[in-house]
């Protein structure tokens, strides 16, 4: 017996996957939440706060995923993604914009190749569609210029113990992604238990995810600090085992700079410096960016401005 899976995953039948995933060490919920709560008490001040705010801005996937999205809305958001604070050239761009598949072309035209364009795919957010539809959804988004795909796992398959269905689906989507990076959304708010989150993380990483992502933002709870800590432990252990670094994206429910800094502290003290880059850690958010900008302006000017001093897109 060993703590981490010792062998490469060769048997991807449902029985093989089950043995593999159920061999992972369990998670004690009380202990996990206590650790996250302790890390949340870190006090980040002055120059470290300024650094953390800029780093957080550069890690944002600026997102709009609404039925009422229009090309106009997406173009405006793209402009903001490139220059979050039009009054200050030193403010970094965000990492990516994240949109539904039909708006990828608009987004790509607006941002060029200056930042990434992420498309949600595979019948986001429920994932309830046929495999053909999911593949088509992904292919189309990549063809239209998305270089990042945010797919959802089949939670129904996962929760019913049909691990191979969830696994095969991720592997198939990865295949059609080509060079596009694949972010796999676990929708932890529907997986419910931390043991499930750990298993789903390993399932996604083994199946070819470049990133594992907490949530769609359409289910409550979305990202939480303990869940993100747990997923960071999973990518840390996966690197120990395989040498490959997988990214983590915390999405939904992160609204304040204070929250964002807490996530960065958890990244720093769980996986360390190597993950403190937009290549390996992202925030999926919309309203977070403005709070980061307000805090940034306060640190620059020495006083708070107000919501009319940042743009609404």
């Amino acid at each position: 017996m060993s703590l981490l899976p010792t062998r490469p995953l060769t048997d991807t039948s449902n029985a093989g996957l089950k043995a593999y995933l159920h061999g992972l060490p369990g998670v004690d919920a009380v202990g996990l939440e206590a650790r996250a709560a302790t890390l949340a008490t870190r006090s980040i001040k002055n120059e470290s706060k300024a650094w953390a705010i800029d780093t957080a801005i550069s890690m944002v996937d600026l997102t709009t995923l609404e039925g009422m999205d229009t090309p106009g809305k997406v173009k405006a958001m793209c402009a903001k993604a490139l220059h979050p604070d039009p009054t200050d050239n030193t403010c970094p761009s965000v990492a990516a914009v994240c949109v539904y598949g039909d708006l990828v072309t608009t987004a790509r035209e607006a941002v060029g190749d200056r930042i990434h364009v992420a498309a949600v795919a595979t019948a986001f957010p429920s994932g309830r569609a046929s495999m053909d539809v999911k593949l088509m959804d992904t292919k189309q988004a990549v063809a239209d210029g998305a270089d990042e795909i945010d797919m959802v796992i089949d939670r129904g398959a996962f929760l019913s113990g049909n691990y191979s269905k969830a696994y095969d689906e991720i592997a198939a989507i990865k295949e059609v992604c080509g060079d596009a990076h694949l972010k796999v959304i676990l929708e932890t708010g529907e997986l419910k238990t931390y043991d499930n989150v750990r298993r789903a993380s390993w399932l996604a990483m083994e199946a070819g995810a470049d990133f594992i992502k907490t949530s769609t933002g359409k289910v409550t709870p979305a990202a939480t600090l303990p869940v993100t800590l747990l997923m960071l432990e999973a990518v840390r252990d996966f690197e120990t085992k395989t040498g490959t670094k997988i990214g983590v994206k915390a999405a939904g429910g992160i609204k304040t700079s204070k929250d964002a800094i807490r996530y960065l502290v958890v990244v720093n003290e769980t996986v360390g410096d190597a993950w403190l880059t937009p290549d390996l850690f992202r925030f999926g958010a919309s309203s977070l960016l403005n709070d980061l900008l307000l805090q940034r302006q306060r640190m620059r000017d020495g006083h708070y401005s107000g919501p009319d001093y940042v743009t609404i897109d």
Partner: protein, 481 residues
């Protein structure tokens, strides 16, 4: 990119330390008849914080007399619901002054502000709240229809959790209707003196609580005083034995909470990331100055290597330094004397062939410091596996079967606490019945709560503090433990 945390020190301006303190006897601060004083220093900087009286024989007499008078005239006659009002008032004042008390504790003791702020002081208030609730309900505690108080309690407490140990002693004593003479440790008297101020603020009748400062000799005179009815001591096993000898043949009721050498046992099905946190919290919390510290890590041999690697990785993230910095995890060792003891025992560990490891962490120039340390290749025969180090030093041993884990856990003269890490509930219950220790933690470590009795087996002492069981130590009843 590197995420450096800028210094985030808690402000010292919330505390106001006098240059000199007298003794708190009969509700007021008085100059000591002994006219001698001790200095108390900040162990993180060696700066002198204040000087406090060293109580002599006449002072101890005066304090016991004041307590006796308050017992006879006021406190023993007061209705429980009225005692409760005073204790509730003290609890609320502690909450109101929590920031000040946390900073003072950190200055005098060296523990990180994160711990004094988030653990010590909230627990202090919780102990007073909990026991205030008992004061008018003692007839329902299971000690008979009308349990009686004992009289004057002589209480001597250690330096590792200065105000918390005071709370563990004073709260149940007052709730049960006793009066108190308490002596804090010589290196950490300041929060006890702040507590004296809180007693004044709460209008506690004079003499119900008396605080006398001093060193070992003062403590000896106090526990040997012929007019005390109860002796309660928390501290080293050596001093505990001396007290028990001194009290033998008298009718004083005695409780002792002494040393420990707890086993923290990790099975191969443990929730490993949380177990690592539990190991760290078990031995590096409060610089290992914890009687129930998980100083012996027992690892199932099949996972030992992986757990040790993960533990070392985690220790690399611990932040040692200024105890007042809100991001500090490991503070200062409380005294030069304690540092010398830790150094002596760790040297014996190396001499006896155990393998020593510490993370690469810079040590401040001034003050008393010891890096978090792990010894591997330790056997039951090593001194570091048998003697209490009372510092941030972990001895790692291995076992093969649950039976062997129990045998090794019990193979110590102490018996205060045990930690068990496994996903299997039935094994937790089986182990808890087999290990001879007063406290068993399952998938956690160093959790304290006023409702839960705390105390030891064997050389870890006897009697319980906290919970309904703890009340028995301050009432005329057969000790239920």
């Amino acid at each position: 990119m590197t995420f450096e945390y800028a210094p985030a020190p808690e402000s010292r301006s919330v505390v106001d330390i006098d240059s000199s303190y007298g003794l708190f006897i009969n509700g007021e601060f008085v100059e000591p008849a002994s006219n001698t004083f001790l200095k108390t220093i900040n162990p993180a900087t060696e700066e002198v914080l204040s000087e406090v009286a060293e109580a002599g024989k006449a002072d101890v007499d005066a304090a016991v007399q004041a307590a006796r008078k308050a017992y006879n005239k006021t406190w023993s006659k007061m209705a429980g619901k009225d005692r409760a009002k005073y204790i509730f008032r003290i609890a609320r004042l502690i909450q109101e002054r929590s920031r000040e008390l946390a900073v003072l504790e950190t200055l005098d003791n060296g523990k990180p502000i994160r711990e004094s702020r988030d653990v010590d002081i909230p627990l202090v208030a919780a102990h007073f709240f909990y026991h205030a609730g008992w004061a008018d309900k003692l007839e329902f505690a299971g000690y008979g229809p009308d349990p009686k108080s004992l009289g004057v309690a002589a209480q001597v407490i250690p330096w590792n959790f200065p105000l918390l140990m005071l709370a563990w002693k004073i709260a149940p004593a007052l709730a049960c209707g006793n009066t108190v003479v308490l002596k804090p440790a010589e290196t950490t008297p300041l929060t006890a003196l702040a507590f004296a101020d809180i007693c004044q603020q709460a209008d506690l009748p004079p003499g119900v609580v008396n605080i006398i400062t001093g060193a070992g000799e003062t403590g000896r005179m106090l526990v040997e005083h012929p007019d005390v009815n109860k002796v309660a001591f928390t501290g080293s096993t050596e001093v505990g034995k001396a007290i028990q000898r001194a009290v033998a043949g008298t009718d004083k009721k005695l409780t002792l909470e002494l040393g420990g050498k707890a086993a923290n046992i990790v099975f191969d099905d443990a929730p490993v990331d949380q177990a690592i946190e539990g190991i760290v919290n078990g031995i590096y919390f409060n610089q290992g100055h914890v009687c129930c510290a998980g100083s012996r890590l027992l690892l199932q041999e099949s996972i030992a290597e992986e757990v040790i690697d993960a533990l070392k990785r985690r220790l690399g993230t611990l932040r040692l330094g200024d105890p007042l910095d809100k991001n500090t995890d490991i503070g200062a060792i409380n005294s030069r004397m304690q540092l010398n003891k830790i150094e002596e025992l760790t040297k014996s560990g190396e001499d006896e062939g155990a393998e020593r490891w510490s993370p690469n962490c810079p040590i401040p120039d001034k003050g008393f410091w010891f890096p978090p340390t792990v010894f591997t290749n330790v056997t039951q025969a090593h001194r570091i596996a048998r003697e209490e180090i009372f510092g941030p030093v972990l001895s790692v041993l291995t076992f093969r079967t649950p039976e062997e884990a129990v045998e090794k856990a019990n193979n110590t003269p102490f018996g205060l606490s045990t930690g068990i890490w496994t996903d299997k509930g039935s094994r937790i219950l089986w182990m808890a019945n087999k290990v001879r220790s007063g406290i068993v933690w399952a998938n956690t470590f160093n959790r304290f709560d006023p409702t839960s009795p705390f105390g030891g087996y064997k050389e870890s002492g006897f009697g319980r503090e906290g919970g309904v069981q703890g009340l028995g130590a301050y009432l005329h009843v057969e000790d239920p433990s």
